[in-house]
Symmetry: C2
Subunit: 158 residues, 2 copies
């Protein structure tokens, strides 16, 4: 662990602590770093903003992308105070940073009653074995839009 790693992870942990003190949401903080500078940060704000997607990583990624004027986090490093939940890890894959550092684990999160590990287990199941009922319908109609997309000349791919 470098001194820089310690500094940035300490900031992520501080953001988690601040969020708990301010009743922003759960005890989670995150920073996004590029070229040695913090370009985005966040703490969990689910309950204070009525937004179930307002996890620390999602907020930090959105802030960093806004600051960088890009929908990709090329060359960035993410420091998060807890192993990302499946939603946040999905967001990280879509944002494509270089690497991720995390402090607490998904088991630590489960121990204080957060669903991270449960959701990981659910995602590994086939759709018809999940607790969330998922039903397929109208694929024939929807696939036409995918065909339009595939044929579109001026699309921005990602």
């Amino acid at each position: 662990m470098t001194e820089a790693d310690r500094k940035f992870m300490s900031r992520a942990i501080d953001l988690a602590r601040i969020g708990v003190a301010e009743n922003a949401g759960g005890p989670f903080g995150c920073v996004v770093v590029k070229d040695g500078e913090i370009v985005g940060e966040g703490n969990n704000r689910v309950t204070s903003t009525n937004d179930p997607t307002a996890h620390a990583e999602v907020i930090a990624i959105r802030n960093a992308c806004e600051a960088l004027g890009s929908f990709q986090l090329d060359g960035c490093t993410i420091y998060t105070s807890c192993e990302p939940c499946p939603m946040c890890l999905g967001a990280i894959y879509w944002a494509r940073p270089e690497k991720v550092f995390y402090a607490c684990t998904r088991m630590d999160a489960a121990a204080i009653d957060f669903d991270d590990d449960f959701i990981y287990q659910e995602l590994e199941k086939p759709n018809d074995e999940r607790e969330m009922v998922m039903t397929n319908l109208m694929r024939d109609e929807a696939i036409e839009v995918f065909q339009d997309w595939a044929a579109k000349a001026d699309k921005v791919e990602y």
Copy 2:
């Protein structure tokens, strides 16, 4: 499939089509329904807003939660024009709607070069076998905030 299912999924597909036409982002649309009414909707806006988390489902969930004044989608049904990616399915688990209908599949998305299926495969791997480099550090410092959370008397759980 009921007439209502057809109506709401058709709206989700229309939102996908509109998003493609307007260059908002990828070909994906979503609506959230409660008591027979649409309470939130969205289409993919990743590239037009520089936000990698701006998938149709995330936007629809955020809109619905704002409209309902809640961070939970109790009794709601989600209609999405494509099987949710791991980020969006994670968001759905956190929002806790009653059920999900989807049209295209993750394989259909992969066929037009979206990473949904790749990300599902990555999430199923142990952290040290993923293409995304994930490193654990400073757990001892971060776990203190979890302990503070566990002991906090006035926390809002979710």
